[in-house]
Amino acid sequence: MRTTILLILLGCMNSVYAQQQLAPDQNPNYLVSQQKYMQVKDSLLFTMNTTEQSTYKAYDWYEVKMERRQNRINTRQQVRINRSLRPIINNGWNDGWNNNWNNNGWNNNGWNNGWNRNRWNNSRFFPGTIGYRTGNWWFWF
């Protein structure tokens, strides 16, 4: 019984000693590095056998010119879309013109009657979409 226990103990000590034995020229502190990388190996090995894309954008005069052109086209298209979606507002032109002409003394000279009665306060002729760039702006005089 005693011999058996002694033999078992000897076997255990032998295996522990074998693990601690270093390879020729091996750094005795290898366990520090081993333990560190055992904890992070999965995250580091995740990109094995793959291509990591760390690309940059190179300046190409011709490509920049084409991009600028395309941006201009897209912007103009978006302006046109926004313009078509804008609701018709009747108080923009009329309020401004009416207030100015009425309150600044023009009324006394007859400008108010002439202007307001005839065209400038008539929303039928001047909906909110009329403007310089829409092409339907014209001078009364």
């Binding site: 090995l45 990109t47 094995m48 056998n49 793959t50 291509t51 990591e52 894309q53 760390s54 690309t55 940059y56 954008k57 190179a58 300046y59 190409d60 005069w61 011709y62």
Partner: protein, 195 residues
């Protein structure tokens, strides 16, 4: 008169329908891919694979390893970093390189990355589901001697409608145990693009 009209109308109809089908597909030899946009293409990948395969299998490191260890070197493929200005997938030429290892029978290759994880997952599944005689054990994988890593770089010089693009593809073979770089291969590709 009516007949002439009908014939003419049919002709116009057929012509208009056929003109809608402008797309034409022609099969070409993969070894003769033409350069269309000036970007990285199949020809570049093929040239890179051919050059690097020739370099890696003819250099001194192979003979030195066989003399020292008495067996074929075992290589594992690591990370390739693309630092160029385009999206380039290195797998297009790395696979050719790996295939050359196997077909030449001079270098042993071990699996890496997600494919290796999948293989281990299958092995784990076998522990509970496969028969005892066909079950594969853990702890018997072949360890690699060298790791193959690389990088892709590019230099772009552009002025008005002219551009030159230079690619440099580098691959390195490193001893996993000693951290010694035993082989470096490179392939340079230069293009002149005029718009």
């Amino acid at each position: 008169m009516k007949k002439i009209f009908y014939v003419f109308a049919t002709f116009v109809l057929v012509a208009s329908i056929s003109s809608c089908a402008n797309r034409k597909v022609t099969r070409i030899d993969p070894s003769e891919t033409p350069d269309i946009s000036g970007s990285w293409n199949n020809t570049d990948s093929r040239l890179t694979a051919e050059e690097l395969t020739k370099q890696i299998l003819s250099e001194k490191w192979l003979g030195r390893h066989v003399n020292e260890k008495g067996k074929k070197p075992v290589v594992i493929v690591g990370l390739v970093t693309n630092k160029s200005h385009e999206h380039i997938e290195a797998e297009t030429f790395m696979n050719d390189l790996e295939r050359s290892f196997i077909t030449s029978d001079k270098v042993s290759l071990v699996q890496s990355g997600k494919k290796r994880e999948q293989m281990r997952a299958e092995k784990a599944d076998m522990q509970t589901n496969a028969s005892a005689s066909t079950m594969k054990k853990f702890g018997l994988e072949k360890g690699a001697d060298y790791i193959l890593q690389g990088s892709i770089n590019s230099i772009v010089d552009a002025y008005k409608r002219k551009k030159t693009v230079t690619y440099q593809i580098n691959l390195e073979l490193t001893n996993i145990e000693t951290n010694e770089v035993i082989w470096i291969g490179d392939k340079k590709i230069a293009k002149y693009v005029k718009n």
